[in-house]
């Protein structure tokens, strides 16, 4: 469903072209300083505008409607909403019956018997990541002094990212990328054996970000080619510090005090200008689809701040559990 967490619980709601998107955060400890201005930096990082991202501009101003009093969290649920503006619904009218390849249009139609809001992807829109980023801002305050940094390290198969984006834009194409994430100042003992391993909880949330198709912790897929003696991280002092960090800071599902490190892959943006084959949901007949409007050439540009957010949310919940 649309909620996650045991102690630090978040619930997201909203649609791309409805009235609002938003999030409720339940379980935030009281006394955390919080005002609307605190969200702006991360929201800006997520926002469109950079080359390769869509020109649709939303002001994306957060409105805190509960749970904060005198600029501090009260312990009651915090609800933050973002009103939708600047909506050009007509762009999407053609999509009612023509599911876009790579998008959730087809599955949403089937799963919800045609009652889904199809405009702009409806509830499946990337716009819902606003809610994740907002919750992440609160979570980052809770997990301090843990510091979380994510970076786009590669796009279109190269670290020459702007060049790759220029090429894609010229061709009416889109590209994917790799985003790495590191969390520092981690205490020993976050996570639970088996079902609430740190990897389980982080990956669960990471795969709630649209377009993510893989995750690897520490040496990840490379470790399939390593020997045990290379891959094992020798322990060098009683704090648990290790000589290497092939484990990405996690053993047996539990944080070992070293940096938590992982990488995710972002698939190429699904919306492209080129014509693609799909099926008409009314007639059942195949049809060519050309998606009008402008689109992100590289949605991966926007992922780092969202990845930081879900990592913070995961760690906040695990810290409060502990």
């Amino acid at each position: 469903m649309n909620t996650f967490g045991r102690i630090f619980k978040i619930g997201i709601f909203g649609e791309s072209h409805g009235k609002s998107v938003g999030v409720t955060i339940d379980g935030c400890p009281p006394g955390i300083e919080l005002k609307e201005g605190d969200f702006l930096e991360d929201l800006e990082r997520r926002m469109s505008g950079a080359k390769g991202t869509t020109p649709r501009k939303e002001k994306d101003l957060p409105e805190i409607i509960s749970g904060v009093f005198n600029d501090k969290s009260t312990g009651a649920p915090i609800t933050i909403i973002f009103k939708n503006e600047n909506i050009r619904s007509k762009d999407y009218s053609q999509l009612k019956n023509l599911p876009r390849p790579g998008h959730a249009d087809f599955v949403a139609f089937k799963k919800y018997n045609g009652f889904n809001d199809y405009r702009g992807g409806g509830h499946f829109s990337g716009r819902l990541t606003l809610a994740l980023v907002a919750a992440g801002v609160v979570a980052k305050k809770i997990v301090a002094p843990i510091k979380i940094n994510a970076d786009l390290v590669e796009a279109g198969g190269t670290d020459n990212i702007n060049h790759a984006i220029d090429l894609a834009l010229k061709k009416g194409e889109s590209i994917g990328g790799i985003v790495s994430c590191k969390a520092q100042n981690i205490p020993v003992g976050l996570g639970e054996p088996f079902f609430d391993s740190v990897e389980s909880v982080i990956s669960h949330l990471v795969f709630s970000i649209p377009a993510i198709k893989g995750i690897e912790f520490g040496s990840g897929f490379l470790s399939a080619q390593m020997l045990g003696s290379e891959n094992n991280d020798e322990i060098i002092d009683e704090s648990g510090k290790t000589k290497t960090n092939n484990a990405g800071g996690i053993n047996g599902g539990i944080s070992n005090g070293n940096d938590i490190y992982f990488r995710v892959v972002v698939k190429p943006t699904s919306s492209i200008s080129l014509a693609q084959q799909t099926v008409n949901l009314q007639t059942g007949e195949p049809e060519r689809l050309e998606i009008k409007g402008r689109h992100d050439a590289c949605i991966a540009l926007r992922v780092p701040v969202v990845l930081e957010a879900v990592t913070a949310i995961a760690l906040a919940d695990l810290m409060l559990l502990k």
Copy 2:
């Protein structure tokens, strides 16, 4: 914690050298045929014995102690236990104060203030995968006609698996591998947007398997190098069948009716014969550790049946939710 699922809920318990390991399955529909013999095939696949796996032999006979009447599930919780036998605890006494690099020994000691059962990894033991396999047998019956198959496709960086294992054994080393998994006959509409995406739920469970360090769905990490027009799966008929399956059968977190496909990486077995540096938990001093006894050279050999099990558990829960 040690439970997972919303409708098809499992809870696992036990330690490597305690009395038993086991699982309770809550939410199994009534009337499913189930007897102890049904578990043997998958348990056999998991069991030690193949070259490259540890010579420790357990009979691993399941005992159903509740929830089944006249060889059918009743709708009440099903508990299955495996008594531990053939335990040579003395092998592990040296480990009380010397955490093995790559294992959970260090984090378990810290997290549980030294009260953890350290023998053979205690509750963190790979032996707990018996519980997962047992639950998977039940889940596979529920998800029929969905068919799930996992295979070890690469070990030590090559598909010449036996050769790679021979080399590792000679050197007293261990190697990792890549396991692929495919689920067929999938209905459209499993999974939920965002937090209970099919990828979220599967990855959550997959990372509860010891030694898994990465997962990728469909084209996975390769998609970072693809163009949108290559990566998008064109829809070719009204059932949702697609020309390609770069999405691994999942759009927007929801199954699209094509095969669900993913791959995981298994790190090299942590226990190796070579001496490694660690720290003595009593003295705080660095110490060299040589792990006595025999070990799996390639734990990845045992992973396929466990991966099938957790996939079946994930799909059973999503099907019953739907």
Copy 3:
């Protein structure tokens, strides 16, 4: 926390004197007709205005901000908010340091280290029942043809309710009452043995209504004085219909197809005009408190519609679980 439910999940938020109160409903099936006008009848029943209820008037107009498209539920989370208006915060300023006997003021101050919004009870306000009533309107549509009716059957120890209220108003006092609730057209098989018994789930939600201090199902406390032969409900046909309904429609925690019937007790409204002793949270000294402003003399008048709402929420969740 502030969420409840397994499939039909609700999360409530807001404060008496903050910007809004509201509710998010996750798990509502798609295709349910829903528009803002549908809420008005039940909101009216809850609203102030009847003799014995506080003269504070809110317009209490619901705003659906997500999850509804073309006047039908989409399957995505439904968020409904009520903006707070007509707030006279100064009435409450005296209460910052003087917890009202019978209210949550003292525990809120302690639990949230003084960061709670104390104005009008903050998040503990009876105003949050707006959120319950709104969720109940949706739940009632889902459980149809189940019909739920609650009535105030006694106030101040008598069924001459208006008279009892008049007396209380004259004395500056408040009174409590008994509310009964009946749900008809119940299918056999709702509820689960033990922890999700129908009684467990209903009572869990019922005790989330402020001022409720007891609940009894069927013959309830009277059954302590009955013989087994009197209390057992003989089964008269194969539908499960029983001659009597001492069980209140529930055996072993499961609905038996007869009406579900229970009664709750509502304590006298805590806010009264008479002076009472309390302690000053700043000074630690005892102090007399006279609560200014006007108050409900009999909050029980407003309980029936809230009781119907939580009953509908409980049954909706159990029906969708089944």
Copy 4:
């Protein structure tokens, strides 16, 4: 389902005439002293033997099969099982098609499509309270110094309990009773507003005890006849101590530091010797049923220790949440 709790989670399993009943406790902190002997006192209190309880004798010896090492909890799940012995299944064969009035037989047959284990009530048996009592023993250790005491204060409508039981036995009848429960040394701040109020969590668990049909906190149903000035508990010092305790130690769902006090009603035992009307599930025809064998005349005699157990479980979870 058959699990409860957020942090201190319990899952129960088993049937009256299956191999075992048992419980898994997940979330018990490490380092709690625990050995099988610790359970005997409470198990003895629950056991049959007192006048008015059934002569069926089980040894009811607990076996801890996981989660305890060197007589201390390890932090891993604790599973405790009780093997069933002394089973006279033939006594129950007549019941396969004849649901006993007042029992779960009818609803179990319908809910589980006839696959339920009908012998002795199967999973619905009061024998499952063994699992609750065992979990309660662990919970009591966690909540110390909180002390919980429950007493049967009335049976068959009188406090002359033995006399009432004698009368019932002579008539082949059964009687119910009232059990009170008090928890002392309660910290301020347990419980959450609304859905996890102390009353909600305790009542949820209390109604999982077979035969309980009502609960009231503090003055309970009597408060419907009180005036606000009588019912409000004046606060007499800064610890929150109140002059009276009509609230039963709970305001706004949160513990206020005074004793938590509540009373429950236990209906008369459903199994009686007298003939009763029921319906034959095979033929659909009405039939007279005489239940052979011996039965508890007053199951309420066994309830106090079970009530203490679920109260301890509720408080343990709320304490660990806090």
